[in-house]
Symmetry: C2
Amino acid sequence: MEWKPFYNNNKEGKLYVIPLGGIGEIGKNMTLIQYKDEIISIDVGLTFPGEDMLGIDLVIPDFNYVIKNSSKLKGIVLTHGHEDHIGALPYLYKEIPADIPMYGSKLTLALAKEKFERFDENVKHNFKEVKGRDKVKIGKYFEAEFIKTTHSISDTFAIAIHTPIGTIVHTGDFKIDLTPINNESTDFFKLAELGEKGVLFLMSDSTNAEREGYTMSERSVGEALQQECEKAKGRIVVAAFASHIHRLQQIIEVATNLGRKIAIDGRSMIRVVELASRLGYLKIEDNVLIDLKSVDNYKDEEIVLLCTGTQGEPMAALSRIANRTHKHINIKEGDTVIISATPIPGNEKAVYKTINRLIKNNAEVIYEKISGIHVSGHGSQDELKLMLNLVKPKFFMPVHGEYKHLKKHKDMALAVGIPEENIIISENGLKIEITKNNAKISGKVPSGITLIDGLGIGDIGNIVLRDRQHLAQDGIVIVVITISKKDGEILAGPDIITRGFVYARESGDLIRGTESLIKEELSKYKKVTEWAVLKSAVRDITRGYLYEQTKRNPIILPIIMEV
Amino acid sequence: MEWKPFYNNNKEGKLYVIPLGGIGEIGKNMTLIQYKDEIISIDVGLTFPGEDMLGIDLVIPDFNYVIKNSSKLKGIVLTHGHEDHIGALPYLYKEIPADIPMYGSKLTLALAKEKFERFDENVKHNFKEVKGRDKVKIGKYFEAEFIKTTHSISDTFAIAIHTPIGTIVHTGDFKIDLTPINNESTDFFKLAELGEKGVLFLMSDSTNAEREGYTMSERSVGEALQQECEKAKGRIVVAAFASHIHRLQQIIEVATNLGRKIAIDGRSMIRVVELASRLGYLKIEDNVLIDLKSVDNYKDEEIVLLCTGTQGEPMAALSRIANRTHKHINIKEGDTVIISATPIPGNEKAVYKTINRLIKNNAEVIYEKISGIHVSGHGSQDELKLMLNLVKPKFFMPVHGEYKHLKKHKDMALAVGIPEENIIISENGLKIEITKNNAKISGKVPSGITLIDGLGIGDIGNIVLRDRQHLAQDGIVIVVITISKKDGEILAGPDIITRGFVYARESGDLIRGTESLIKEELSKYKKVTEWAVLKSAVRDITRGYLYEQTKRNPIILPIIMEV
């Protein structure tokens, strides 16, 4: 049966697209579509902290606009199961009604479920599983249609949102892999059919917009892996992203072909292998998996260890192996280590450190410079142009990328003939107002980042981060003075304590110098009536003296105790 | 006249090569050659701190071995003027006799002189300028011979040290540029002549040992620059390394060809352009340079701004331009920005931030992905093999590289036929003992890193860094209690102060909770006689409670004041 739009009422109106994350950045993808009193969200992702966000564990979008409008939120549609698309869901559901439905593929929802379980048992959810070509009505105005695509995780969708104004398409993350591992290719027909019927507004993944040509097929990695593993004479250690189930499948197949057993290490790897094979996304022959503890019961040439740690994360399995702090695997000559990923910008140094340590322990290390051992999950320029050709949108907004990626993606859109005035480069929080004939930025909503540190959600802000940066740079110098509650007489102090400032054995003269300057200052006070005056004098004296002596600027913290 | 070794005495003996930096790392290059009671050092470089070295400005080699043996140190020979080869000289001369001579090219010494001048006027030096093919006797046993090479700075040498045991060659940093900018090519004859006469031990630059083939000639950059600059319709901003004088020359020539004026910005850029043109390394036509302040007196298409900031350094000229905090240059549509360098590992994110900001301000940005706008100054695999073929050393030690680079370079050496047992992969501080027939690692000397923070040299160590990392992660919580000197009675407190821990407005309950737990503990003490017991109880209580409440682990600092 041909699909008929249910809103064929020709009534005019305005639609809003509001990205809360993923624009001008790689990560924390979240986009709202609002029509009248109804909102749906495409993805609710998180991102990892920048190096200036000291001590922060995770970063999620500012949810204030959604929370304030949670009565309007009719549903959440999920493109795929990566952290940057589903990772912030539990944080959002902590603040919104649990019955708001989430639509996603089986794998996406299974991964999301795990996140809820590990978060807080009081936070409930309402999952609705969908398959490719499924169409679901959400609220009065929206219908979401799920279209299979290919990416570095299974069960990935582009999503078309049919609205009273027209059809909005969001590609999610994608590449156009013509020979995917599970033979489940991009649903070209549905994308082209949408294009044929008319797409008003397209949002498309810009992650690889700087790369020319086509991204290699995931299948090519299997061939390269097979070659490298055939050459290996001893144990093989392969590090990969746990969520990259196609990659894991290929590693498992290569190992099985070569008659090797597979041990798994790394918490997320163990979890994903268990989950994906239970759900049928990962096929592992019987008797291939062995317990990590039993590795030494096999000959070296019978072993593949599949583990985490491609980004040089200090506690990941591969890092522990490289540092020789791993409980079961002691790296040695004859071992081959394959790092089946490239460093994410910012992780280069940590990854190189791991590689250097492995080589130093005489392992053969196969890493990024060796071509073929990894391919990207995101489409390059020609794939982006192909997507634009299939969907043929009237209006186009590049998403998922830093500004330089969005700009390049815009160039692709211009190249395929979309007029410049129909291309929007937006920012997180801007409202794009869409009518049948027009799309433009019009207003903004509260947006930004919420920092997660331990159990705290948003209790760390700029002041705390600035203090941490300051502490990290030059440490802290604490000056304690005790005065009498009765008459303000100075009873004791100054006592000076430092942390992160200077070696204790080097600090004697500095501390004594500071002390005598403060004592000199204190001698001017018969009694202390204005704490603030004393505090500020102590701070200035200490700061000036220490800077002059060391050219360092620690945090100076005067404490006045009253007894 | 043919050069005759002056030590033709056939007496046996042992020579030591002792690298103090540059092995297993990129940076702080320094290698000692010791024979009996005489030592010379090849280069005395610094490096920049890793991201775990919070607040550190610079890192220099541990000089203890040299200082202890400074009466043996007969001279220092310098390969070229980059920071990682000469940057630590003033720190060394602070500790050794000022009359120990330093040998280097005119440009190298001019750059070194600046370092001394900016360091401390009391630290003196003894410079000896040398030219290519110069030979100088150093001490009783050594003769140093300087051989021209090509690199990303002018006036670069490989150095042969003729010793009673045989000839040692150190390549310094090099590429083999067949069409260098100043037409001063590598002195192939001298390198080949050394090889012909017999080189006992070669140390060669491994920086690019992972790259196949040949590194492109610096001249190719000029052509790419010319093309990009011809396309530019408005102002052109070019960021480059200040020390890369050949690059600066090419930028200046392109600008001059196109009839543009050149303004210079960035402290080091201004300094190097002044110095290099004064010494004749940089040729600039009259009336081409203009004052930065007068840029607005010219049309956009008449301007090139040459500046620093290729690594996204926050205070560099290009970063200030990108952030719109530059005093004279407000970036705007029509401007073309060329970043003529690639990010050094670790700087990627900062560089991308700069690029994104420039693009956001509508500049056309030409950066690394556009080929030809930058080439490396270090030789790739085929150049390394060529060097090995020219010098034909009996023993070979790859230097200047992380372990992975050294290992690759070893593979090159094996490929050109050096037997594995004649190749040494060393570490900083290891002594390589060399006789006419043997080279092996034998013992070690004190080595490591000395951290520079502000004026302090080596007053920051692991404890301070660990504190800074801890402070950076979770901040500090200070608990002050005042007790009576007389009888140990608790007079005041606990007062709790935090920095970098949690937002003040969020911290009320946490502080109150901690206070009441500590008060409960204090009530157990009639009087405090054992400070240590109280301190440790306060620390444990506070840490346990705050971790339970927040899953964070700030530094807990109990302070007990006695009045």
